[in-house]
């Protein structure tokens, strides 16, 4: 703890690929069991949260970090119960504010691996402001946005990602407001790491989490998560073996963007278009560049699933180098100390114009 005050990290890494270097490594091998807490898990049977929890518990040992240096911070909602079920440090906070709380924690403790667990209501309605500011600021933290396109904990009202016309308890004649596309929103906020994955695809989910953890800065991972009580099968098209391979556009850096039968190419108007793969010469298929400093192609990719579920890009949309806020903040403290010397209280109080009496 002794170095928290000034954080003696002079050669701190910047940006992509070094998000774990300041976090102490575990000396012993860890297993999934090490990350299970003694609390009874209380989600509805069949909830997609179980799969994500299991994937996270299974993935954390792979990071090889000291368990005590991992913190999960959540807001309010079904998904936000997540920290209780992990045997790490955890903070179940208030609706929408987890990114703010995690920002204070991560900015003052670069030796922690900080994860935010949030949902579509938590992150995009009440906490929308904190989310976009966390993304632009780029503190070293990982935001897992469980998107089930419905309000679960308040029992089934439409959410900011529900499709227009959604019939719910609060919208018996259909919802009127246009949903957010969380990926577009994050890219608009110039997030340095933006990805989408699926609760049921453990392998893909884990691979995305691995990249997010390794990213230095704020990573946003949208996880399509099924709410089998209030919005069952919302993402069925991505899971149905009959169609999933055709509608899932896999984003892999350096690889052409294709699904089973489709491919992404540039149309004559310069826009990205999804076309039959068969008729496209291999060298005309758009090759994914997640590290492109210009977010416009990633943004265009995020728009390809309009209308919903015709073809859905899955994977890492963007992963770019950008200085992390906590690094810059620590650096200013260091500069202040190296320029002016460590602060001395007596000198501070006696600063300015003084006079002596008696």
């Amino acid at each position: 703890m002794s170095d928290i005050a000034t954080n003696g990290h002079t050669a701190e890494p910047i940006g992509r690929g070094t998000g774990l270097t300041l976090i102490p490594r575990a000396t012993e091998k860890q297993t999934l069991k090490d990350f299970k807490s003694d609390q009874e898990v209380r989600w509805c049977p069949g909830c997609g949260d179980y799969a994500i929890l299991s994937a996270v518990q299974g993935f954390l040992p792979e990071l090889g970090l000291k368990r005590e240096n991992i913190v999960f911070v959540s807001g309010i909602g079904c998904s936000s119960r997540f920290p209780y079920y992990l045997n790490t440090y955890g903070f179940h906070s208030i609706h929408g504010r987890a990114p703010a709380i995690a920002t204070g924690l991560a900015a003052s403790r670069p030796d922690l691996s900080v994860w935010v667990i949030t949902g579509d209501g938590d992150a995009l309605s009440i906490g929308g402001n904190h989310l976009i500011h966390a993304l632009r600021r780029n503190v070293n933290l990982n935001i897992l946005l469980f998107n089930n396109r419905i309000y679960g904990l308040t029992k089934g009202q439409y959410s900011p990602t529900s499709e227009v016309g959604k019939i719910t308890k609060s919208t018996p004649m259909g919802s009127l407001d246009k949903p957010f596309n969380p990926i577009s929103l994050a890219l608009g906020a110039e997030a340095s790491f933006v990805a989408r994955t699926l609760d049921s695809d453990r392998k893909h989910l884990t691979s995305v989490l691995r990249e997010a953890a390794a990213h230095r800065g704020t990573s946003l991972v949208e996880i399509y998560q099924n709410c089998n009580i209030f919005n069952d099968n919302a993402f069925e098209a991505l899971k149905d073996p009959e169609v999933r391979d055709d509608i899932t556009l896999r984003l892999e850096h350096g690889q052409p963007i294709v699904s089973g039968s489709k491919a992404v190419r540039r149309g004559p108007d310069g826009r990205l278009a999804v076309v039959d793969r068969a008729g496209v010469p291999e060298d005309e298929i758009v090759v994914h560049d997640a590290h492109d400093p210009d977010p416009s192609v990633a943004f265009a990719l995020s728009r390809l699933d309009e209308p919903a579920f015709e073809h859905v890009p899955i994977g890492i949309f963007r992963s770019v180098d950008r200085p992390a806020y906590d690094t810059l903040m620590s650096r200013q403290l260091h500069e202040a100390v190296s320029d002016q010397g460590a602060g001395r209280l007596g000198d501070l109080l006696r600063g300015g114009d003084t006079w002596r009496v008696g």
Partner: protein, 617 residues
């Protein structure tokens, strides 16, 4: 011509002009010289919330009042002995406060037909005899300044702008102020514009020389240095003292300071000040909103920092939910509320004591929070340390209630010895505390303080989860058990109530010990109340005085003190918020005196109120 020099024991000066006239700077400089000279002093800046209201209008008037004396004083003074009015609007806005016979220095250059019309004067009051009850010094400040600066390589506009320095020079002559500090200050301030620096210094000196030579001023005044307690002094405003107190708390607790804040008048200067002191390891985070400011501070506190958020007015309302989370997670957090006139936006630059009940009860559920209130600008230093002491020791959010008057007002401060500051060091929990020697119980309490342990992330073996949901006693597991909830509500309340044993008793000042009337107050009303008490005693009144620094919990002897007087008078700049609490708790029939004008009380006004209560015995 040798001029007469008259000795005075105290003077109240008010500089008033347009927002663009530099009245705050002029006042600050006069204050700095007065502090250097060794007078006791107290200041009251008063400015509009608008950055630049239309020039020459009443809403654009900005003023700075300074009271200085050869003895210790408690307030910025009720009514000025001398008013400097830089334009008709400044005259109109302030003349009502000027007692008969006082000096009035008017910048006649600005009394043009157009400027007079702007504020509804049909003709110039300087010329029509309507200012007969004051000693009017009609001085063409602007044109004298421009003339003095002929030959300088600056624009006419820049020359006119220096008129505040001319006025400062004149007043400095009139009251025998030292000048070196102001000259050095101007050289520093305009280091990159040497022509402007020279011109301002020339204007300042021209003002001094004008006083020396003009027949308009036949007398100058001397106010001897005050005999203050021995020590090293500096002049300090409440916001600066509060920032320094937070830094001291960080040093004394060895916890790194994390400030999460969103700019809001009149609290922003604390953010500005703390952001300058990164060499102390201070992280200042300008958040996207008030909620994120307090949220980040709480997150940092979870990580082992001294978490602080600063705000005012409606900002306090926005932070309420997070303060509730801090109450239930029992994490240390300092919430600085520089109270201002409300409700809603209210009057951002004006002072009030109207957030006491908000601090006390403004959250959902039973969520007790300790409240500390400084009494004077320099006391903000000690109050900040005290707030931190309670927050860290009891693992609780603490509300620190300053206000606009303390924030911007200033006074000489006798510097404390650093090695005499309280030790606030805290021990994080690093070992399991369960009876089995293996488990960690995040809500197992210290039997004395009822505080829970504080184990920060990074501590092996003590991994645990906290949150806003009700927790089982000891383990901190989620619990909906009715009896547990009742227990936890009482434990949280009991913890805060118990702080009463850890704060000084309410001290009563009653020199002869035979007063039957007690006047009490809290926060920034200390100065005016104490000044009024002096006046009442000087005219033979028997009056006891006590002042609350701790509003929650109240000092353990509060009921006993209140009940031992026939009458208890409580002036507040609200509609009786502390009176409500005291009446409810102690069934004492408090006599309230309430004015909510956005301004501090005047000593004379309170002396009258005190006398009335004594007389009604």
């Amino acid at each position: 011509m040798t001029k007469q020099v008259q000795q005075l024991d105290r003077v109240i000066i008010r500089f008033a002009g347009d927002s663009g006239d530099g009245m705050q700077l002029t006042g600050d400089r006069f204050t700095a010289e007065t502090a250097q000279f060794g007078n006791d002093l107290s200041t009251l800046p008063n400015f509009p919330a608008e950055i630049r209201a239309p020039a020459g209008t009443l809403p654009g008037v900005s003023s700075f009042q300074l009271h200085f004396a050869d003895h210790d004083i408690l307030t910025p003074g009720d009514a000025p002995n001398v008013l400097v009015a830089m334009n008709p609007a400044a005259l109109k806005a302030n003349i009502g406060d000027l007692p008969r016979g006082a000096d009035l220095i008017v910048n006649t250059d600005e009394f043009t037909k157009r400027n007079l019309q702007k504020v509804g004067y049909a003709e110039s009051p300087v010329d029509n005899g309507s200012l007969g009850e004051w000693r009017v010094h009609a001085v063409p400040l602007t044109s004298l300044t421009v003339k003095a600066l002929e030959g300088f390589d600056i624009s006419k506009k820049d020359a006119e702008r220096a008129k505040n320095m001319f006025a400062l020079g004149l007043l400095s002559w009139l009251y025998h102020r030292p000048t070196e500090g102001t000259i050095k200050f101007l050289e520093r301030k305009f280091a990159k514009k040497p022509d402007i620096a020279k011109a301002n210094i020339a204007a300042f000196q021209a003002g001094w020389n004008f006083g020396e030579t003009t027949e308009s001023f036949s007398v100058s005044y001397e106010i001897k240095p005050a005999t203050l307690a021995p020590g090293l002094y500096r002049n300090i405003s409440g916001n600066q003292a509060l920032a320094y107190g937070l830094i001291a708390a960080s040093v004394q607790s060895k916890l790194p300071l994390f400030l999460g804040s969103y700019p809001i008048t009149p609290a922003s200067d604390i953010l500005h000040e703390l952001s300058k002191h990164k060499r102390f390891g201070i992280r200042t985070f300008q958040a996207e909103d008030e909620i994120a400011g307090v949220g980040a501070a709480l997150g940092a506190a979870f990580g082992g920092a001294l978490g602080v958020t600063t705000t005012s007015g409606p900002g306090v309302a926005l932070k309420a939910e997070t303060v509730g989370l801090a109450v239930t997670t029992e994490l240390p957090l300092i919430v600085v509320d520089v109270q201002r006139a409300g409700p809603s936006t209210g009057m951002p630059t004006k002072t009030e004591q109207t957030d006491l009940l908000m601090a006390m009860y403004g959250r959902n559920g039973e969520s007790p929070v300790p409240i500390v209130a400084p009494a004077t600008p320099s006391d903000c230093f000690d109050a900040a340390i005290e707030a931190a002491r309670i927050a860290v020791k009891y693992r609780t959010p603490v509300m620190l209630l300053s206000d606009g008057y303390l924030a911007n007002g200033s006074e000489p401060w006798r510097l404390p010895e650093v090695d005499e500051l309280p030790d606030l060091s805290v021990e994080f929990t690093v070992e399991p505390n369960g009876e089995d020697g293996e488990t960690y119980l995040p809500f197992k309490r210290d039997p004395q303080t009822l505080a829970r342990p504080w184990a920060v992330p990074g501590t092996p073996g003590l991994e645990h989860r906290i949150g806003g949901i009700e927790k089982a006693d000891g383990t901190g597991d989620i619990s909906y058990d009715p009896h547990n909830h009742d227990l936890m509500v009482r434990l949280r309340q009991g913890k805060i109530d118990g702080i009463a044993q850890d704060i000084p008793p309410l001290e009563v000042d009653d020199p002869d010990g035979d007063a039957r009337v007690l006047v009490i107050g809290w926060g920034s009303t200390y100065g005016p109340i104490a000044a009024a008490v002096r006046r009442a005693r000087a005219s033979g009144g028997k009056i006891a005085q006590a002042h609350f620094r701790h509003l929650n919990p109240l000092p353990a002897n509060t009921g006993e003190v209140l009940r031992s007087y026939d009458k208890v008078l409580l002036p507040e700049i609200n509609l009786g918020q502390l009176a409500l609490l005291l009446r409810a708790r102690f069934l004492v029939d408090i006599i309230s005196y309430n004015r909510v004008r956005g301004l501090p009380f005047k000593a004379e006004e309170l002396a009258g109120v005190i006398q009335d209560v004594i007389d009604s015995e």
